[in-house]
Subunit: 202 residues, 2 copies
DNA sequence: ACCGACCTAATGTGTGTTCAGTAGGTTTCT
DNA sequence: AGAAACCTACTGAACACACATTAGGTCGGT
């Protein structure tokens, strides 16, 4: 595979570089945010000159969007819609370990784009709203099916859940030594007990 | 009170200006973070020139620390140590509304100082650790007193609680229209049910 | 003479971006 | 077949601007 015609090899090299820039950007964005990182630094980590980086991404902002696109693609690939939400939540912790940069980058970017004028504000805001809506919908589905008790306000609970997810992400970024898996298990466990219909509360 | 000797009035004016700079800084920090805001902008909002601002605070970083100092002072004034943690948590929502800038600024600054080289990293990290420790201690105290069931891991639960607090702060900054009070009530309620000893779980 | 509270103007540095220019490979026109 | 035009993947140097900070000055009060 690695022996191709020279031009194809050239293109492959370019694509490889592009990927390296992107992953370097993700790692650095996670740590410093997009205001805290410079094109030069990303370029250096990827082994290119700043101008070389701009050959692949037409501006710093374009690179930023590309990094977020990658996260979107990752999520879309791993979303198992119509599974039980509690089961889904249990799977989230694993994703933290599997794609730490992609996940961690997000919480940082969210905080850097609170203002409507910020470049990613609309994407972030839309994403937040979508998360809450999806989770609320999942709860309601469970309630209709009788799997969850009906006296829980799905919208309020959904906001709580998203808050926990964002918060644990933050804590984990600040202090990677926290017992991530246990905390997830604890939270989803208590969530399950809470949503369970009267009978099987221990 | 406003009619004093001229020199005292001058000093008071200076002190007033300092306060205005500080509160302007807090509001802007909440929205843009300290990397996203310029001295000039803060100065303008406070009605001073950039150089005028630096007359009161010797550098941008000093201003930042002063803003965090204000938050520390606020917290110290409102901490009712040795109250039940769940009751304490219930009071937190109210603080959000009472001092939105002071509170909101914090979550933003936390995210901007993840790296050990960042100027506020040590303060933020120390604060995070202290929060977790305090809450865990509160849970243990309740367990020893028999008010909480003993089979909950206090350290893990404390991490969860802090994550929720940080997360809800984030959500609220992004979307101030969320039902903050209800979400707090929901979370503290489920926490109470979970920590309650066997008998009175509904 | 000295102080606090400022201001305007200049300085210097960091940084995103642009501007040629080089080295190779490919397509197209004659 | 051979040259001209064009492509991708870059680089080094220069540019332009934003922004924190400094220097020096003004003004009123002690």
């Amino acid at each position: 595979m690695t022996e191709q015609r020279p031009y194809a090899a050239l293109l492959a090299k370019g694509e490889d570089r592009r990927q390296r820039i992107l992953t370097a950007a993700q790692r650095l964005l996670k740590r410093h945010g997009w205001r805290g990182i410079t094109l030069g630094r990303i370029a250096r980590e990827a082994g290119v000159s700043p101008a070389g980086l701009l050959h692949h991404f037409e501006s710093k902002e374009a690179l930023l969007h590309a990094a977020v696109d990658a996260r979107d693609a990752y999520d879309e690939a791993h979303a198992d819609m119509d599974a039980d939400i509690i089961e889904q939540l249990e799977g989230v912790a694993e994703r933290f370990h599997r794609a730490p940069d992609l996940i961690g980058m997000f919480a940082v970017l969210l905080m850097e784009n609170l203002d409507p004028d910020d470049p990613l504000h609309d994407r972030m805001f839309g994403r937040y709203r979508a998360s809450v809506r999806t989770i609320a919908e999942g709860i309601r589905r469970g309630q209709r099916a009788g799997r969850y008790r009906a006296d829980v306000d799905a919208d309020v609970k959904a906001v709580e859940i998203v808050a926990f997810l964002n918060g644990i992400e933050t804590s984990w970024l600040l202090d990677p030594s926290i017992p991530l898996t246990e905390v997830f298990k604890e939270y989803t466990g208590s969530l399950a007990r809470q949503l369970a219909p009267a009978a099987d509360t221990p």
